[in-house]
Symmetry: C2
Subunit: 203 residues, 2 copies
């Protein structure tokens, strides 16, 4: 594999740029087993083009590899321009190495969270898990956190990036946050992933 050393440059960001938004489904924390990951292909902030899914281990170490495989096996792969993640940790503390995900897929990656990540708290939590050092290294590998104001008069979001400049990430986030301060691909990925959780039987 040729290592991608530069960031992807976006000369023009079309309103219908295809974004893949990724989130995880609800699961019972600190249990054994797998959790669903849902990927939603959105045309800018406008409409849904497709969906993909995979499973990763709760508190496991396979998120990066499984998500890369899900993306590359998708019929939408060639059309997607950017991957957005609802944070870096899925299914508990199964952390995505965003630089490696960029290397594996050739697609820039942007993590988006509503709260500023508190790395001291995360560090403490990671210490309770096997392979703490490896996890912490993946976490640190994501680099600096940027604050981005996606919509006027609304709460900002916090992002980390791989394979894309902060400036381009900001432009894409602003263009695709059409219904809330979160890019539409991620807002919808969250609704779908949480809506698919097993439902309680009620009569």
């Amino acid at each position: 594999m040729t290592k991608l050393t530069t960031v992807k440059k976006f000369r023009q960001i079309k309103p219908e740029i295809r974004i893949l938004g990724i989130d995880d489904s609800v699961f019972i924390p600190r249990t054994k087993g797998k959790a669903d990951i849902v990927g939603v292909v959105y045309r800018g902030g406008q409409w849904l083009d497709g969906i993909m899914h995979t499973k990763i281990e709760i508190d496991g170490l396979d998120a990066t590899q499984k998500i890369a495989k899900m993306i590359k096996n998708s019929p939408h792969y060639k059309q997607i321009r950017v991957v957005m993640l609802d944070g870096m940790t899925f299914a508990g503390f199964n952390i995505v190495d965003i630089k490696e995900l960029f290397q594996k897929t050739g697609l820039p990656v942007i993590t988006v969270t509503r709260e500023k990540p508190n790395f001291e708290d995360i560090k403490k939590a990671l210490k309770n898990l096997p392979q703490y050092k490896k996890r912490w290294k993946i976490m640190k590998n994501a680099g600096e956190t940027f604050k981005i104001q996606t919509r006027e008069g609304e709460e900002p979001v916090y992002v980390q990036v791989a394979g894309i400049s902060e400036t381009d990430a900001e432009k894409i986030l602003k263009k695709t946050s059409t219904r809330s301060n979160i890019p539409e691909a991620l807002r919808v990925a969250h609704i779908i992933a949480s809506g698919l959780a097993p439902q309680k039987e009620k009569e």
Copy 2:
């Protein structure tokens, strides 16, 4: 239960009217087991508000009851104004009684298909299944099929209705078919339901 004898009248159809679009997931025909049903709450033809799901028996007789229960248990129930179904048969020949679904939920029901249903072919197929007469009765209970031109210069769709006039159904279909000749709630329900099918493992 008070029987609803009249149709719901829509004095005004807001562009953001909440529509529930329902479709089934891919399954292996004529096998035993259950298939997933996905319901998508859409604001008119504009954006996704929520999702719900249930399971029904392949070639079973529980579609009406399970879908009614899914709708009534959803936190979106009170906001939904119309239910749209991708045809009348789900998970093989598990047929929805649209008049009964209207009675159970109080929500008007519109079935939408791209092809004109061929009832002679359906009748023949139903004869291979247990409780043929019951199934055929449910099918006939849906009444007349109407042809509706949702978008200028595109293929028409075919609908059957319960609890709503043909005129109101036509208005709602035209207003919500924003990306194709199919109302957005159904287009997206189809993408989500088929995208959730188990994926082949590829390396």
